[in-house]
Amino acid sequence: MDYYIPPLKADCEDLLNQFQKTESVRYEEFAAIWRKMNFSSIFYGKMAGNEMRTFSRLILTIAYQYFLPPHTFQIRAGGLYLLYGLYHSQLASPKEKIRLALKDWEHVQKFQTDAVNAQHYDVVYILRRLFSEKAFYFAAMPKHLSFQVKRKPTRHTVCEEFWDRSTRVKDLVTSDTLEEIMNVHEHYEKVKAAISATPGQPDPAIHLINKDLGARLQSTVMRFHKWQEETERRRNGYEDAGDTDAGEGTSKQSECSSRAQLLASIKSKSYGQVVEASRSRRHRQAEMDTSASEPNPATRCKRPISLRERTRKKLMSQGSAKQEDLESTTQWRLSMTEQDKLGERRREKKSFKW
């Protein structure tokens, strides 16, 4: 079933992308896009036996990811609608359930309170509807795990546009990490001092990092945070913008669009000013750029030719063996008529590759 993952992801992202362009979290907008794309037809087509159930399970697992952070509130609402739509339009009976993991529960609750506070009635209503319809399995993990170790692990790429960027710096540099960086830095200075020729003074040749790294990092983060708040306040005319943890604002159209603009501005800023970013951040951003430029890391490499095939090719090219000699004789038919031979050759095996 894994061959369905890339196209399914592409389809879901296509739908959510269009939903994002509406800059709204209304269900009507979503349903209109759903109908336009005829998304229910994703379940059409003959599937053997339990294939339908497995497919439903797979698509629900994929859609579930959009319902969770780090996506923006709008995408998460879209993810919720997507789950709702898929749950209701699946053809398996009894319906396959959405697997809700315990570790994600707090995100769901936070989402619900955000939606209630912002008075998005349709979001709350649909979430409650799913609960009362018993559409969830309260599970340990979002999918079945059976120790499927891959030689090349598939990387989880989050669609860049759906990402909630505003809190990323805050998430990355918390007071705990800052303290740890300070500690590590202190230790580092001590070690440097210990190995240097002049006791108590680090060797100037290995002076590679600013002395006041921790303090500088903190001030940079604070400056960024302040800038972010200011731009937000300027664009929204919010009163409560000082409290960034307020979640989702009220359900005004203007708010959504300004949010999108804000996201765009943050994005352009973060991409445009790579040089200005602090040392540790610069490395991260370079990483992000590469991940954006290679969208499909899991390209399949071609299998090398087998030894048997190589030997055969070699023999053929040397002319020491004829085509017929190499054809293996099947035990159940030691001789063969000419007619059969022709028939055998014409019927080449075609197998379906996903």
Partner: protein, 381 residues
């Protein structure tokens, strides 16, 4: 805050390696965490009446009931249908020129299937579907046997011990669903493995005696190994502690200390496990099955709710059976060596052919050979 509390708790399953396995956690604690966070109506088997739901919603959100009705109309699942109700689409056919990528892929497959002369579903899939549907939504006749609300259901994969060449890409296994309150011995009894049916000994002189001694009755010891603890089956006096040798060996090789416990005293709720992590089930001395917990979740209205049916078999890999060398029809029951009558050594026979070939009408042995009872790997198909 409750959410903070959950996050810091290490009984919340989180990934150790993404998509592969989780960190260890206690099953019972996990259950109580879910129960703390949910209201009983969330996992109850009964439906809450819709009017009550709506009234509650209106009250909590502070909106008039007309708004709720409006919401209901807007958000009904009917809004998702692209075609009017009366148009009966054939849902088995992928529509022409699909725009969705998934459908394009499925269309390609469908087109390929049309070129085939005959199209057969894989029998594995066919049986898997039947088995899955068999117990779905089953209710017990006696209400006493109903699975209690908020019970845990664990899915356990038990892999087959044999690694044939053809199993390199598939991991043949059985899947069981067990309840959290059940004992490990109940799972042990439900696991069917051909090595339990083996008959040891040479029976060419007395072929009628053979089926009476199967290994299951002779060697009853077994153990599960989960997270550093050996759970030994010591229900019968003749059971031996199979883990003893391993423990002693581990002591001399500087391994972390292992513990032992009794299988019959342990329920699944008392276990500490990782989901997706391979563990061991060993019986018959050295028949070793890898055991993987693939999933743990609360029981749901649509599950099989008959307690007596658990441990419930939900998946079984079917193995190709080896047929009799004479008739190529029946599954082999005997294997012979040093047999002058057989085309190869060793040779497989079904019961009928074996007796016809090797014994005269009075049941006397013809020729010189050694015969052993043979249990096919596909005996449980």
């Amino acid at each position: 805050m409750a959410a903070k509390h959950i996050n810091s708790n290490n009984n919340v399953p989180v990934y150790e390696y993404t998509d592969i396995n989780t960190k260890p956690f206690h099953v019972g604690a996990f259950l109580s965490l879910w129960k703390e966070t949910l209201t009983p109506s969330d996992y109850s088997f009964q439906d809450t009446p819709e009017e009550k739901e709506d009234a509650e919603f209106a009250e909590e959100m502070g909106v008039p009931s007309e708004t709720v009705d409006e919401l209901k109309a807007i958000c009904s699942p009917h809004t998702l249908k692209s075609h009017p109700e009366d148009e009966n689409l054939d849902k088995d056919v992928v529509p022409e020129n699909p725009s969705l990528q998934t459908l394009r892929l499925r269309k390609k497959r469908q087109d390929y299937k049309e070129t085939l002369l005959r199209d057969v579903t894989c029998r594995q899939d066919f049986y898997a579907n039947e088995l899955e549907i068999l117990a779905m939504g089953k209710r017990p006749e006696d209400p006493e046997d109903l699975v209690p609300e908020g019970e845990l259901i664990l899915s356990v994969n038990i892999l087959y011990p044999v690694i044939f060449e053809r199993f390199k890409n598939v991991r043949p296994h059985q899947t069981f669903q067990v309840l959290g309150s059940q004992k490990l011995t109940q799972l042990r009894d439900a696991v069917c493995c051909v090595s339990d049916l083996q008959v040891s000994g040479e029976f060419s002189n007395t072929p009628d005696m053979a089926p009476e001694f199967i290994s299951k009755d002779h060697y009853k010891s077994a153990f599960f190994y989960f997270e550093g603890v050996f759970y030994n089956d010591l229900r019968y006096p003749e059971c031996r502690d199979l883990s003893q040798t391993i423990l002693e060996w581990a002591k001399t090789h500087e391994f972390p200390t292992f513990h032992t416990a009794k299988m019959e005293d342990t329920t699944f709720n008392k276990l500490t496990i990782r989901i997706g992590y391979p563990y061991l089930y060993c019986h018959q001395g050295d028949c070793e099955h890898v055991v993987i917990f693939t999933d743990i979740r609360l029981s749901h209205r649509d599950d099989c709710l008959d307690q007596t049916l658990f441990p419930l078999l939900t998946h079984k890999h079917r193995v190709i059976t080896r047929k009799c060398a004479v008739c190529h029809l029946y599954i082999s029951r005997w294997i012979t060596t040093n047999d002058q009558l057989a085309p190869m050594d060793p040779c497989l026979f079904c019961d009928v052919c074996f007796r016809m070939l090797h014994y005269d009408s009075q049941g006397n042995k013809i020729g010189d050979f050694l015969a052993y009872p043979y249990v096919d790997a596909g005996a449980f198909n």
